[in-house]
Symmetry: C2
Subunit: 214 residues, 2 copies
Amino acid sequence: MRGSETGASKRVTYRHGDLRRALLDAGTELARGGGPEAVVLREATRRAGVAPSAAYRHFADRRALLDAVCSAAQSALAVAIEAELAGLPCKEDPAGRARARLRAVGTGYLRFAGAEPGLFRTAFSASDNLRSAASPARAGGGGLTPFQLLTATLDELVEAGVLPRERRPNAEFLAWSAVHGLAMLLIDGPLRGLDKTQAQHVGQRLLDMVEQGL
Amino acid sequence: MRGSETGASKRVTYRHGDLRRALLDAGTELARGGGPEAVVLREATRRAGVAPSAAYRHFADRRALLDAVCSAAQSALAVAIEAELAGLPCKEDPAGRARARLRAVGTGYLRFAGAEPGLFRTAFSASDNLRSAASPARAGGGGLTPFQLLTATLDELVEAGVLPRERRPNAEFLAWSAVHGLAMLLIDGPLRGLDKTQAQHVGQRLLDMVEQGL
DNA sequence: GTGTGATCGTGAACACCGTACACATAAGCG
DNA sequence: CGCTTATGTGTACGGTGTTCACGATCACAC
C-alpha cells in the first residue's frame, strides 16, 4: 500500500499501478487532439507523471505505443458504428432493413470521422494494418472491427436478395473505399473546410451511389 | 581567409546557383521514398551539400518546403493522369469517349498511387490543401490540377448526355472520394499488401460502381 | 520476519531534428 | 573603390526517440 503519501510534493512513485494503461490513455488523448503524429512518447510520459524511459518497460518503442493507440481508436470507431446500428428503428422487411443497416454503417463511419478526426486518422495508421483492421481477431477486448461490421452488413444484403450474389466478392472494398475516401478528403484532404450541412449532403449522395452502384 | 585550403577536398561554395531547386528536388526524392514525414529539412540540406540553416533563405520553415514538395507531387499526379488520357484511342461517339475519359482519369490516379506511393501521399499533405488541389490556380508552372481534370471530364459526361444534369452537382466529390479512398486503402491502409492483379481488378469494379452509381 | 530475485521507474547520457542568430562571403552597382 | 544586398556558415538552444546503469519496490521463499 502506498498510504504513506504525506501529501508533500514530489514523492518518488516507483509503483504506478497501471502505467501501460496510463500511457495508452495519454497517447489516445494526444491522438484525439492532433492525429498520429501528435502521439509523442515524452509527452505521454509527462502526462503520466513518469520519466521518459519508463515507457520502454511497456512498449518496445514509440511505434508500439502508437499501434496500441491505433487499436484503441479502431475500437472507438467500431463502437460508434455499432451505436448507429443500434439506433435504427426495427423494420420487418429484411431487404429494407439490410439497406438501412448498410447506410447506418456508412453514416456512423462518416460521423465518427467528423466528430473525432484525430482518432479517426490514427485508427488507420497502424504498422500492420491489414491484420489489425480486417482480420477476425483484434487486439482490443472482444468487439468486432469496423471492417467486420461492414462485411456482415453486406452479407445481410445478399441474404435479403438486394445484392446479387455474383456482385458480392470484393463489395466490402468498394463500399469501404468510397466512404473512407470521402472521410479522408473531408477531414484532412482537399475538402476540409466544407461546411457541415453540405458535407452531410455529399455523404448521403455518396451512400446513394454505393447502394446503387454496388 | 579560407582560400588557404590547398585544394584538398572541401572548397566552400557560397554560391549554389539554385539552392531552392536543389532542396526541392532533394525533398521530392525523400518524399518518393518515405512519404511526407520523410522530407526532413536537415537531410535535404545534406543532399544539397549545404548547411541546415541555409534552407531558411528559401523556405520559411520545414512546412514550407513540404508544401513545395507537395505541390510538385500534385503536378506529377496530374501529368500521370494526362498521360493516361493521351493514351486513349480516339472514339467518334462522344458518350463513349466521355466515359472512357472518366475511366482513364480513375485508372491514372490509381496507377500513380501504386507506382509512387510516397509522392502520392505527399500530394495530399499540404497545409492549405483545398486551394492547392481544387482551386484554378496552382503554384507549379501552368498545368491543370488532378481535380480540374476530373471536373472537366465530368462536364464532358454531362454534355454527352451520359450524366443527367441534375446529378452533376458534387459529382466530382463522389467520384474523387471513391477512387481516392481505394488508393489510400491500397497504399497505406488496411488493404496494403493486396497483390497487384487483384488490386487492379478491384479498381475496375470500383470504376464500374462510380460509372453506374453516379 | 528476513533475505533474494524479478519487476518497474529514475537519471544521465547520445544522436537527431527544427529553428534562430550573428557572422562571413560573394555579387551587383554607385 | 566602397556600399548594400543576397546568400551560405557556425554555433547554439530546446525538443524528440532511445539506451543503459542504477535504485526502489514488490512477491515469494525460507
